[in-house]
Amino acid sequence: MKLCALFFLALAIVACAPPYSAELNAAAGLAGQMTLLGTMGPVNSPDGDSTTAIKFLPAKPTSASATLDQLGISSGFLVSESNRGESLTFAYQSGNSAQVLDSGASFSLAGADPHYPLYEYDVITTTATENIIVFYLGDPTSPANNTYQCFTATPNGPFQSSSPPTTMTGLYGGRAVLAAQVFPLSAAPYDRFSFLLDPIATPYGEGAPTFALPAFAGGIPTTSNVPLLGAGSRALYYQGPLGSPSYASYFTAGNWVCFQWTAATSSTPTRLTGVTSRIDAVLTDGDLISTQDGTLTVYDLNGTRLNSVPLGGMQFCYEAYVGATPYVFFSLSLEFSHQSWAFRVYAIPTSRLRSLKG
């Protein structure tokens, strides 16, 4: 009998609490208004127990997916952060378990501006492989050092850089690139790219390259006369669905500001006074969204605030077309014991962001 008691006591001590996910509960209200596309994982933390943040960016839908039901979440990119910097890995489902491939690249966060991401990770639509492009846009003293690097992945491997980090000064006759935007196009095999150009010696400019990953073909500036007061060498830049209007969101004098202009008004951009937070994307319906401080704020194209809901830990991934309908994709990182993570991916039609309830 004593042995029996000891057995149960030992069992009690080694037993652990049932799994719990604070993230899932915090995001439950919002998740209930979206479509759950699938769960990836669990996977080992790429940085062990030193991971301080992690984000899952699912592979973008291809033209083969006409509806959400056809869109399975079976792979994607993991951007994780630790005190050593950021790392990029590729996760894919293999049978009953998730596998992770390491790109071997590490991204130092030394000198990062606390208001801006030092690197922008944009999953891009392609036809064959799953690609992610990493923009390094963070050298305020020498924006000419800003680079891009494309990584290509296929399930079962390999996951590798298809090009070394390449400076973007070659795209526009030696002008440095300060910001980049990747925008989804309907019924197109590729995304649209557009860039904000260095103001040195001239006002800021805009440009779009010819898409030819892993290298961009050179383009020409589309405008070269945009004065952005106080933007310095760092800003976030977007174009509307039809290439106009354009927006620059940047942190100056302790505040986030947003300016809007068109080709006709590029020399006198309009400050959108209703926008007081960082803009993270311009959507296909022309709305602007911010996810600053974990709150999703939706503005119309003129900066009028339309909706604001707490994200509860959900992270904005991108907007993409599924069939003819644009959807906004979010991922939710769920942390479990033993340094393991799982990721849920949600989608919501872009048109319904305005009516999301917190």
């Binding site: 009690a12 609490a17 915090a26 994982g41 669990p42 080992n44 933390s45 509860g312």
Partner: protein
């Protein structure tokens, strides 16, 4: 050597003088004779062991039976609402035997630890008419020790409410009692930055409980329970994989079960503690 002669021959006469011999009537009673005995117990008490048919104490709290005396006897007295009495006595001419009956405790308070030493309390109502019970329990995962977690001190904004319908397999007068039970559980949470809600990963479950209860001190009993639990979950695979032990790798050696797309089983839930019986 003649030991008896060496040891006792000198002593026996001394003893015989000191302690005079008894009259034979003092220790010879002849064959046992039947005497009428009244058993005093609570009205309605059923008494077995003294006669081929059970006796029942009448409204006056007595039952009468003829028993050979002198002789040893044992009886068992049972009455709904009272702890059964197992009693042994030597009948030696007495005309009455009283059965000391104690009212059954009907309210239990538990203080216990669940799984990785997460504290909880529960209240049990023991049904007087049969060995069943109903228990309502509350466990907080806000503070506990979880030896096999990443951190020894584990705090989750999670609580668990249980309802258990049980049955004691062992009689109440046994010092060690086994019981079985089953019932639902509900998990509620107050996540950081969120509002009070039902847990979305494991919102509810059904427990099967096998328990062992034994005396501790006074009205306190100790107990230990194995409570394998079936959970409803939208992520049964994650449930199982999260019990990994190798830096997140799923541990296929442990028999956690998942039944996609909606259920998973944790067979290792253990609860132990003390039970105060009123």
């Amino acid at each position: 050597m003649d030991i008896s002669r060496e040891r006792w021959d000198d002593i026996v006469p001394l003893l015989a003088r000191k302690y005079p011999a008894l009259d034979p009537l003092a220790y010879t009673r002849g064959p046992p004779a039947a005497v009428s005995v009244i058993i005093r117990a609570k009205p309605g008490t059923v008494i077995t062991g003294l006669s081929p048919k059970p006796l029942a104490a009448g409204p006056d709290g007595t039952a009468s039976v003829d028993l050979p005396s002198p002789a040893p006897y044992s009886l068992r007295a049972t009455l709904v609402g009272y702890v059964p009495v197992q009693m042994t006595f030597y009948l030696d001419g007495q005309s009455e035997i009283s059965v000391d009956q104690v009212r059954s405790p009907w309210l239990y308070f538990d203080g216990a630890f669940l799984d990785g030493l997460f504290p909880g309390v529960s209240v049990t109502y023991a049904v007087p008419t049969f060995p069943g019970f109903v228990r309502v329990g509350f466990t907080s995962f806000r503070a506990g020790l979880a030896v096999n977690q990443d951190q020894l001190l584990t705090s989750l904004p999670l609580s668990q409410i249980t309802l258990l319908f049980g049955w004691y397999v062992s009689p109440q007068d046994r010092p060690r009692r086994f019981y079985l039970g089953a019932g639902p559980l509900l998990r509620v949470t107050l996540p950081p930055g969120g509002s009070f809600t039902i847990d979305h990963l494991l919102p509810w479950g059904v427990q099967l409980v096998a328990g062992w209860e034994f005396p501790f001190t006074g009205n306190l009993h100790a107990f230990i329970e194995l409570a394998p639990t079936l959970y409803a979950t939208p992520e049964p695979k994650l449930f199982v994989d999260s019990f990994g032990t190798n830096n997140g790798s799923p541990n296929a050696t442990l028999p956690y079960l998942n039944f996609p797309p909606s259920f998973a089983v944790n067979p290792f839930e253990v609860r132990f503690g003390v039970r105060w019986m009123l």
